[in-house]
Symmetry: C2
Subunit: 340 residues, 2 copies
């Protein structure tokens, strides 16, 4: 039995869902001679837990945190404590799941990833920040250290995009992409059309757990711009930052706009688009009914890749939940386990 | 520079397109320290060519065959000559690209694949027959021999489906699929709606190079049934043969049927569907306008995979040509090169 030791940075929606998935797949992994041990968890609000023998995930999920043992730290996870965990824990992989900070241009997650790679650890990031603002730097560092920097769930949850380009589209160049990448705006546009108002629709999306806590990240197109940057940098060799994306949100759209186009058989969606050269853009677009992007309603996402050898290829993710995000991280962990 | 030596069985549309692709990517491969040498080519009508130093692909494509040198065979490639080539050529990979024979239940391609694996060669099959009628047997044999049996282009050309399930959806189970897998019927249904008759539409598809020479393979749903069997066996652990697929073709559909549904905003498509248990079916289905499958018109294909961890995932291939089929083979060759 081979053990791979993980550190979780963040234990919110995604971290908890990943913990549940690791528990659910324990037997499946064991059949493959593999065991993932979570040796450290740091959180923003509930301090930090570490156990070199492996934390009890079931207890982390289902019991109040205080009776957990052995606790190397119980106080809030101050940055220096988190840094010590990243650098010093005997771990193989650091899983970055802290919230995206657009205002801090991807920090502190970028620093976490750099520290982990420099300490000889692989990094799996569900946080888009390090990919959007520091892809080249972290990817180069990972190569120098002989480690992996993977981030499948940064865009469209666990839908294979980065692994698709890296592995199953080997030898094929991605020249551009166009898609609907932000779930919240897509959901909100649908609800506006059904008569809900903007605030109410955003609240619904937050309660369902897929909207960002700060609605501006969704409504002003930041989330889509950050994801588009990830795709441009990792799939197309670009060197963009999210601030360079021509970005327009959905706040100026009225229910009347949506209704008018719907009556004409068309749909308005927040479309993100970039190519291997030329500008990157996020903004509302009127789509004809036969445009595949118009088929992504509610919380569904879709992306069309333009490639040199495979022409146009579209991937459609139907109404995902947190499980799909956790799966993206799980898949990256398996890829590292396969090669380690 | 590492050389991988290939034998081509078949040099029709796909074989020629693959040869063009190998020439076009020669420099790209060389940058990666890799060279593919085609050391043998067998054809149904123009005999067999072999050269242990590597055949001149440019000459194979663009010159009459007779002046090629050195010719170990010039007469028609009789089965025993082809067998000798498969078994005895000093080659790493045999690429099976002979035409699908439903009447022979996948033979002689199954025999080719078996012979090649037994001779210690990897097999890449663009021919669906070996996957539909002998997947388990050939996959087991490949594992015993420590060789690969790959067939990405058997379904939806080079669209990642088998490699997707094997690699980028690692740890995720495919529970079912539903899709439009046959290009010709999809094209023909569109042309019928536009006023063309069945024979004329089939002729157009044949002239464009994507219809089978025997129209029954397309119109009676055989091609879709064979592809569905490949998916069921390789992705879902089924043990089906194409004859077990509940199969209905499109011959009984009239332009009036299509027109009537089109006026109601619906579409009729030849839909293929199977799950990890339960029956496999191919037949005409009336689709509502918001069904993603209704968006695949002309020569486009689409498949929706039902999975345990990733929910529903659809992949859409837009109007592919032969280049996409050749790419599927190329991708498989790269996967073998990566691991060899």
């Amino acid at each position: 039995m081979r053990s791979l030791r993980l550190v979780f940075l963040g234990f919110g929606h995604v971290g908890r869902e990943l913990a549940r998935l690791l528990l659910a797949r324990e037997a499946w992994l064991a059949e493959r001679g593999l065991r993932f041990l979570v040796v450290g968890v740091s959180t923003g609000s509930r301090g930090l837990r570490a156990d070199p023998e492996g934390l009890d995930l079931d207890a982390l999920l289902n019991q109040p945190w205080s009776p957990l043992r052995p606790l190397t730290r119980v106080a809030g996870a101050a940055p220096e404590e988190r840094a010590a965990l990243i650098a010093n824990a005997e771990a193989d992989i650091v899983v970055e799941m802290t919230p995206l900070r657009v205002d801090l241009r991807g920090e502190p997650a970028i620093g976490h990833a750099r520290m982990a790679l420099e300490a000889g650890k692989h990094v799996v990031s569900a946080n888009k920040g390090p990919v959007a603002w520091a892809y080249r730097q972290l990817d180069d560092l990972a190569r120098r250290e002989g480690r992996r920097f993977l981030f499948e769930s940064a865009v469209m949850d666990g839908t294979p995009l980065f692994s698709l380009a890296r592995r199953t589209l080997a030898g094929c160049r991605v020249l551009g992409c166009r898609g609907i990448l932000n779930t919240t705006t897509n959901y909100v546009l649908g609800r506006l059309l059904e008569g809900q108002d903007l605030e109410g629709a955003v609240r619904e999306a937050q309660e369902a757990g897929f909207a960002e806590a700060d609605p501006s990240l969704d409504l002003d197109g930041w989330d889509a711009a950050v994801k588009l940057t990830c795709l441009a940098n990792a799939l197309m060799g670009r060197n963009l930052v999210p601030e360079e994306v021509l970005r327009q949100g959905i706040r100026d759209l009225s229910p009347e706009d949506l209704l008018r186009e719907a009556k004409r058989g068309r749909a308005i969606r927040l479309v993100a688009e970039v190519s291997s050269s030329g500008p990157a853009q996020v903004g509302p677009v009127i789509l004809s009914a036969d445009d595949l992007l118009a088929r992504a309603s509610g919380t569904s996402s879709v992306i069309t890749l333009t490639t040199d050898l495979m022409g146009l290829l579209s991937i459609f993710e139907h109404s995902p939940g947190l499980g799909q995000t956790a799966y993206g991280v799980f898949r990256d962990l398996l890829e590292i386990a396969d090669q380690d």
